[in-house]
């Protein structure tokens, strides 16, 4: 059975992001997947890397200790799906802090003679479901940083068989029909994922 870790970052249950999370989790469960939902806000995740963590950042394996439970959940998964809004051309701080603190050396990448080698290779499927306030054009002109973080950096860390990046741009002006269309696309995407 495929075990998926769904990492969700949004403060409010009534948000569209929460609806997307519901579709992702529901669709994967319907396929018989074992889904572990990590709701960063609900779990009160602290995104700020401390001075002590920074000093021990490269000390494999002790560097995972401050976030061991999150590391164990990540290691147990063979699929990772990130569900979040894009704020200011990046993931919300709480999710960026999850990357900062959990994707540490030895877990996400290894340094061999100063070269970065992938270590998250147990993740065979990597997916993102997100929304942007910016239009596609504006995001692309800005270089679409959140997309590149996943399609380049995380792809390099995991070398997944399947990479899916789904985005609804110009979210502030998306009417009910566009939102429903995106929810349907996400459902279809997760069925095929």
């Amino acid at each position: 059975m495929t075990r998926a870790l769904v990492v969700f970052a949004h403060p409010c249950e009534e948000s569209f992001a929460a609806a997307l999370k519901g579709v992702v989790v529901g669709t994967l469960q319907k396929r018989g997947w074992d889904v572990d939902l990590c709701d960063l806000y609900a779990e009160g995740f602290d995104p700020v890397m401390t001075a002590e963590e920074r000093r021990g950042y490269h000390a494999v394996p002790g560097n995972t200790r401050p976030v061991q439970a999150h590391v164990d959940r990540l290691l147990a998964a063979s699929a990772l799906v990130l569900v979040h809004p894009v704020w200011n051309f990046g993931p919300p701080a709480i999710l960026k802090g999850y990357y900062d603190r959990v994707f540490v050396p030895g877990i996400s990448f290894r340094l061999e003679n100063g070269k970065v080698k992938p270590a998250m290779t147990h993740i065979r499927k990597l997916g993102v479901v997100t929304t942007y306030g910016a239009s596609w054009l504006r995001a692309t002109l800005a270089g679409d940083p959140p997309r590149r973080l996943v399609t380049r950096a995380f792809r390099h860390a995991a070398k997944p068989d399947r990479l899916l990046y789904m985005a609804l741009y110009d979210m502030n002006r998306a009417d009910a029909a566009r939102r429903a269309g995106y929810l349907a696309r996400v459902e279809h995407g997760m069925e095929q994922f």
């Binding site: 920074r54 990046g90 802090g97 270089g143």
Partner: protein
């Protein structure tokens, strides 16, 4: 010149702290007024709270939780970020500063009946400086697309004055840096700061008619 310096690093003895000190010294030498936001030092809370998200679009109230930050952003004409690059991007504490402070009616204006898209709201800021360190090489950072640099130089940059002056400097391969490479980098930061500050915009002295300008 009024400069807001937003700085973050968890350890006070870091190279990033040395870059901050150099930036502050250059600003002070130029006679600029400076305000420093030390996000770790101030224990800045980067997580946008549920109540803030619910009140995000209420422009009469949304600044209240970050009053000092918004006031300084409105006050400055020069915005400088000094931070380490983690996962090709901004540390969470700095990302949260953007999330919570760059609010509608502060940093940008939301679409309305007349305007179909988001419009910039920080046209009073005419200088942008970004100083960072990267564990990755220059090549790898370029390949990934330098998300952190782009978030600030383009994402935030798009909100500022259109013909602003902007500078960027990064020390790559930070984990294999040497005292020489760090000293070279501080030299680059100093040069970029001089470029950012430019010549003091003093009122030009009146020239008598027909006077020849000598070098």
């Amino acid at each position: 010149m009024r400069a807001l310096v937003v700085y973050c690093h968890p350890t006070p003895d870091s190279f990033t702290a040395a870059i901050r000190d150099l930036v502050l010294a250059r600003l002070q030498a130029s006679g600029a007024e400076v305000r420093l936001h030390d996000l770790y030092g101030d224990s800045f809370q980067p997580v946008l709270a549920p109540a803030e998200w619910q009140g995000y679009l209420d422009c009469t109230q949304n600044c209240t939780p970050v009053g000092r930050e918004v006031a300084d952003l409105r006050w400055c004409d020069t915005l400088i970020f000094v931070y380490p690059t983690w996962w090709y991007g901004l540390p969470a504490i700095l990302k949260g500063w953007l999330d919570r402070v760059l609010l509608p009616d502060v940093a940008f204006l939301m679409p309305d009946g007349v305007n179909r898209t988001i419009r910039p709201g920080l046209h009073h800021i005419s200088r942008l400086g970004v100083f960072t360190t990267c564990g990755a090489s220059r090549w790898l950072t370029w390949f990934v697309g330098a998300p952190g640099k782009r978030t600030l130089m383009r994402g935030v940059g798009l909100l500022l004055k259109p013909r602003k002056r902007s500078v960027f400097a990064a020390h790559y391969l930070m984990d294999s840096s040497t005292p020489e490479s760090r000293a070279r980098h501080l030299g680059r930061v100093a040069a970029k700061m001089d470029k950012l500050i430019g010549r003091p915009a003093a009122t030009p002295a009146p020239q008598p008619q027909g006077a020849r300008v000598t070098q």
